[in-house]
Structure formats: structure tokens, C-alpha cells
Amino acid sequence: MIGFFLLGMQGFLPGDTARHHRAVILDLLQEALTEAGLTSQDIDCIAYTKGPGMGAPLVSVAVVARTVAQLWNKPLLGVNHCIGHIEMGRLITGATSPTVLYVSGGNTQVIAYSEHRYRIFGETIDIAVGNCLDRFARVLKISNDPSPGYNIEQMAKRGKKLVELPYTVKGMDVSFSGILSFIEDVAQRMLATGECTPEDLCFSLQETVFAMLVEITERAMAHCGSQEALIVGGVGCNLRLQEMMETMCQERGARLFATDERFCIDNGAMIAQAGWEMFRAGHRTPLSDSGITQRYRTDEVEVTWRD
């Protein structure tokens, strides 16, 4: 997250992010080995993020992963980032077969497992919910420290007025670009006229977008007959989202699973966890197929490690 602070109000820029990764990755690798008390001989396989995501940063890490795999003569495993979140969530919470709400700055999907695939039942048709929140934070010049989403959440707790915002659910899918455009247009005017406070806008935005997510998750749970829901991804840290999801689950007699920021936010351990599952199931990524895929769909992976 170092890059997030340094980039100020721009968000993650691929070039700068890639440069950051290249600058720290080898020292980080060595530090991880040292802290774990391991050597290359103790490593079973090398897992890296194959996608989805920004191309330059993905390549920066894939370079090292491939080179390390060749130098150490270890199997290589290209992992889907979304599946990394799911497998980490399942591991940490113990959820067996949940309907997954995956919400982050780059992805918004409702996923359920069926016949060796993580099927996407619903998703955003434009921007991710985290992206919507982050860009809204820029409109109000909300600090990035520690993260815009966290600061929106804290401000929302002090909101008192619900401002009506565009609510866009299209079947199983959601759309956030409209609500973002709307709030970008009206925010300054409403604040200037005293119609509402920044806290009211934060509160209203959260209530609206989270309600949309709860709706499509519940619809997927009803379709699948699922009694478990799991929230993963950075936006999953939001306690208000967890609270709204919990209410929905209770009404359905279902159980909600969620993690804290250690496991919600992107982390290397989740890639390792998914890679480990893949390795044990016999997956191997040949060098010829070890590129990165910016648009790597969750349902492209054959999940052979589950029944």
C-alpha cells in the first residue's frame, strides 16, 4: 500500500506501481524466506498472480516468479487473483460452499462453486464498487491515508441524512458508473447549499451501493439454495457491508462469513494458498503458458481441488 500513499489523489498508476514492485520484490522475497527460516530447497512450488489486474505490475512479478522457478527448478503456478481471495476466505473462515461476494477496487462479482468452476452469477457491468468509492473520495478530497474506503466508512458513521442516489441493479448485475457520475455532478452543489454534509454523502453512497450488492447476493443464494455467504476483497473489510449482509443472511436462515483486513485486502498469502491447492491437485503452469492475463475471468479456472 506504500504506492497508494505516494500517488496522492490519482489512484494506482500502472507504471509507478510496476516500478515499486520491481524495486522491492527481491528484498521482500529474501525477507520472507529469512523470516520463515526457509531456503529454496524447502520450497515446493512458485505461485504468482497470473491475473486479472494491471499489466505492468503483473509482469513485474511474473518475471521474478518465472526466473526463480527456473533457477530453483520448482514447478510454477499461475494463480487467478479472484480465486486467491476465495480460497483464502474459505481457509480462514471455514466456510464450506458459500455464495461469495467478491468486492474490491478492481472487481465486483457474486460467485458460487459448481462442477469444478467458480461460476460468476452476477457482477458489475462497469466499474468495481471499490473504484466507485475511491473516486468518490477524490471528489470530496477525502484522504487516502490509510485508505479512501476506510475514511468513507468512518465518515459515514457520522452521517444523518439519506440522500437519494441512483440505485442500479440489472437482474443479477450491478452498475456503479451512474451513481458515481451523479454524485460527482451534485456533490459540490449540495455541499455548497448546505443541503447535506460530506458525512451524509458518505453514508448515502454506502447505503445505496451496499444495498445493491446485498440484493444480487441474496438473489444468487436463492438460486443456488445456499446457506452460506462469504465476503472477500478489500471492500469486504467494511463493517457496514458486513452488517447489511448479516441482516440478509439472518432473514434467510443463512450464515455469513467474513474476514478482517489482514485477509480481505490483497495479499501474497492468498495467492500462495490458491497455488498450494492447485499444486496438490496436480496443476502446473508450463513456461510457455506463464504469461499474465489482464482480463482473467474467475470462471476460466478448472477447480480440480474441490469435489
Binding site: V59, V64, T67
Partner: protein, 178 residues
């Protein structure tokens, strides 16, 4: 030994040959020229992976001027005599100290096709312990971007090899390249 310096990413563009700063050794190359080493006729098929058994690769800053024995020439685009569809070229020779190092780097770069725009033609060849790299394209911007991407990856491969096999790289190397 210092690894090649960081280059530009994405649309920032870079003069690929000049991204390489003082580093581990020598590399010849030129940017923007209309001719280069071409295909020296070396092996460029798939090879088995290997571990680093030799010494450190040597990559030094590439001069924009043609080197002794090099086939690169000044950019034809600057001459004013270019045809309408001029093919621009970036060529680089990276002398590694053993075949295994060159082969490992070759295998990595050949599997990174997604990083090069489809309009940029990439040729990679290993002859002995030298890795020949040649990128050609009609669009100078695309060529510049692909060159920067390739050099970034080359830099990371070399840095990774240096980092993980320090004992080998700490041995004094005979003068080679440059």
C-alpha cells in the same frame, strides 16, 4: 554488480538502448536504426531450462553509435531518405558469461510475448553465450514501448539471477564485452 537501471513503463516510452546504465558488463545495441545484426543464424528454438552455472551476465550502457563489428547504422529515418513504410529497429546483444545464463534469459523473454505489441516483431537468438535481441516495427511509439518493456524484463531477470546466486556473481570476471 549493479543491475541495469530501471526503464520506463507503459506509455511513458524510453530510449531502450540508453536505459541500461553502468552495470555488470557489456551489451551492444542501437535504437532507431534501420538495420541491425539481423538473424546471426544461431539456435533460436526451445531449449531445456537450466540453472545458473556460470558467471554474471554483463550488461553495460549501450551507445547509440554503432560498435566495432556491429551492423547497426544511424537511423535511416533521420536521413530524410526513408521510404513511406520505414521499418524501425532496436537491436541489442547481451553477452552472458555462459550459455546457461543466456539460455535461461532467452527462455524467459520468449515466453513474454504478451508484453510486446502485436505490431512489433521480436527476434531472440542465443549464439554461444550471447543473447541477440531485435525488435522491429513501423510505429516508433510502439517500438519504444515494447523496447522499454523488454529491457525492464531483462533487467529483472538479471537482478533475480544476481540476487539468488550471489556467490557466483561475486567472483571477479574477466573483461568481456564492451
Amino acid at each position: 554488480m549493479q543491475a541495469p537501471g530501471d526503464g520506463a513503463d507503459g506509455a511513458d516510452g524510453a530510449d531502450g538502448a540508453q536505459i541500461l546504465d553502468d552495470g555488470a558488463g557489456g551489451a551492444t545495441g542501437s535504437a532507431g536504426s534501420s538495420s541491425g545484426p539481423g538473424n546471426p543464424g544461431g539456435r533460436d528454438g526451445t531449449a531445456t531450462s537450466g540453472t545458473v552455472a556460470g558467471e554474471a551476465p554483463q550488461v553495460e550502457g549501450a551507445s547509440p553509435a554503432p560498435r566495432q563489428g556491429g551492423e547497426a547504422s544511424a537511423s535511416a529515418s533521420a536521413s530524410g531518405e526513408a521510404s513511406e513504410k520505414q521499418v524501425l529497429e532496436f537491436a541489442l546483444t547481451v553477452p552472458f558469461l555462459c550459455y546457461v545464463d543466456a539460455e535461461l534469459t532467452y527462455q524467459y523473454l520468449t515466453s513474454s510475448a504478451e508484453c510486446y505489441h502485436e505490431a512489433v516483431h521480436t527476434e531472440l537468438t542465443v549464439i554461444g553465450s550471447d543473447l541477440f535481441i531485435r525488435l522491429t516495427a513501423e510505429d516508433p511509439v510502439l517500438l519504444q514501448i515494447s523496447t522499454a518493456s523488454l529491457l525492464n524484463q531483462l533487467s529483472m531477470v538479471v537482478q533475480t539471477m544476481q540476487h539468488l546466486v550471489p556467490a557466483i556473481f561475486s567472483r571477479p570476471r574477466p573483461g568481456k564485452g564492451g
